[in-house]
Amino acid sequence: MVINDGHSVGLSFLRFGDRMNVPQVIEIKKIIEETPTIKTFIFDWTMVGENIPTPGQFVMVWNFKDEKPMSVSYIDVHKGEFGITVKKVGPFTEDLHSLKEGDKLGIRGPYGNGFDTNLKGMRVLAIGGGVGMAPIASFTEEALRKKAIVDVVCAAQTKDELLFDERLKARGAKVYTCTDDGSCGFKGFATHRVLQLIEHKEYDWAVVCGPEVMMRPLYGSLEAHMIEGEYSMERYMKCAIGVCGQCCVDKTGWRICAEGPVFSSDQVSEIVEFGKFHRTASGLKEYF
């Protein structure tokens, strides 16, 4: 018995599903500075049953002041490690960025449905905007492992902020970078880069994660080209266990934390608020 694994001993009478819903306080094993504003945090993790994260799933991260959702950006079931990749955008993420290796965080999850990665032999276009590359990275690695052919469009505002382009290139994906300012690769928005690509190349499947203002037009283009796929959404989250209703989307009522965060193209067409608005903590609508 050691203190960390002791903690799970302490939970051993909760049923499995319940145990997942209590933050496990664990040490940050490694921190990787990915870009000036983005860091990856690696943790040791017991890989059993529902505890094993899959690409597209997320965890709730507790810094003892607040708790927020973060996608799983890195999964090594064999080594018993997973990672999250965090962009500094406000108080919580700033606090995470101030942490050092060995510091502790509470983690519960993984939650949500995740991407379909059984895409053997399929030509897949994976598109990530900004820190939206986090789940795209774990997706791409898993899809490649399952013998999909993956092209990645890796978009950022500027060269320094490109995330995981090298990592995925090294894994065998073809990576198209694209920056708003043209500092690396295509100059312009991911939307345009993708349009160019799909007009010249055949794809069987697309996987998209990024700001909804990016995903909305992308969805239009991909649909127009009859490329089905999956889209990962974000909404303000409280419980992450499907009870509070905070993350439900119009008109279907689906919970981003349970039925999502990944939705098929067909499902996306039913989510009328997609790309239009989301809701704040109080429940008020905020238009993009």
Partner: protein, 301 residues
């Protein structure tokens, strides 16, 4: 066979969504209605917008969860839009409201009464009128005043939802009845409870304490319904820990005319309403009962 009636409002079945669970948007309320609920209760909302507490707002405990969402609400004006979109053809719509004093309760109730079939008063929130941290529902007089003010303001039936965290729930139930409540909803979440992380010593919920819900609280909820059934003559809606049809039967026997389901949606999804409906129907067919009404209070003998 499952058809029943609550305070004059017809229900296709006695299963309702509990307040605060998937109840923030018309879209999720409609989903629950389509999943087979006879009625839905909205998340409690107030006059003005409120962000609620910081996360963590929920954590699992043995047999359920504790939560301190902190009554987040977009305010009545924004919430009216949601209520307008609830599909009242599919089932009944009930607004759960809260406020700091009787006037606020009455104001919010008046704003929405045309949009709903009933109003449920969440009198379990901390109140502003006295200095200490108790809640309206822990004080018979304040409960009376709130129910009374709302009853004078609206024509739709009014349910008073009470907290179990009192020395004597019958006393509060009788107060609410005397003030004119058309029915009672029992129970709001229990405790509160708390959970402390043993590695860091931090209480896990940002608010430290949170109300307990889920299967673990069922015995206490059933007892509260049983007590209130003996103490009052108005219909009771039972809530707390229901996860299957047998739990529903237990609440009906204890004296509930209808029931609400909240936390178990976490384990079972919205499909829980359809599943329990059909199991309950089968139970009644195999039993000597002819209707839900027959079963109400059967445990009192």
């Amino acid at each position: 066979m499952l058809k029943t009636n609550l305070c004059g409002v017809r229900l296709k079945n006695p299963l309702m969504l509990a307040a605060g669970v998937l109840g923030s948007h018309a879209s999720s309320l409609n989903w629950i209605l389509e999943s087979g609920a006879g009625a839905v209760v909205s998340k409690s909302f107030s006059k003005d917008p409120n962000d609620g507490y910081k996360n963590p707002t929920t954590v699992a405990v043995e047999g359920g969860i504790i939560n301190a969402i902190g009554l987040s609400s977009p305010g009545v004006e924004a919430f009216k839009e949601e209520l307008e979109d609830v599909n009242r053809v599919k089932g009944r719509s009930i607004a759960s409201i809260y406020g700091a004093n009787p006037e606020e309760f009455a104001y919010v109730a008046g704003k929405v009464e045309d949009l709903v079939d009933m109003i449920e008063l969440n009198v379990s929130c901390p109140h502003a009128m006295e200095g200490y941290g108790a809640s309206i529902g822990q004080n018979p007089k304040l409960t009376y005043d709130v129910v009374n003010a709302v009853k004078e303001a609206v024509d739709v039936p009014v349910l008073a939802k009470l907290t179990p965290n009192v020395t004597d729930i019958s006393e509060i139930a009788v107060s609410a009845e005397n003030a004119g409540a058309d029915g009672l909803t029992l129970i709001n979440s229990l405790g509160p409870g708390m959970k402390i992380d043993i590695v860091t010593g931090n209480p896990i919920l940002a608010n430290k304490f949170g109300g307990m819900s889920g299967p673990a609280i069922k015995p206490i909820a059933v007892r509260c319904v049983y007590d209130a059934y003996e103490a009052t003559d108005i219909p009771i809606v039972g809530v707390g820990g229901i996860r299957n049809y047998a739990d529903v039967v237990e609440f009906l026997y204890a004296g509930a005319s209808a029931v609400q389901i909240g936390t178990s949606i976490m384990y079972e999804g919205p499909e829980i309403f359809g599943r329990i409906s059909s199991d309950l129907e089968e139970f009644i067919e195999d039993s000597e009962f002819d209707s839900i009404k027959d079963m109400v209070g059967f445990g009192h003998k």
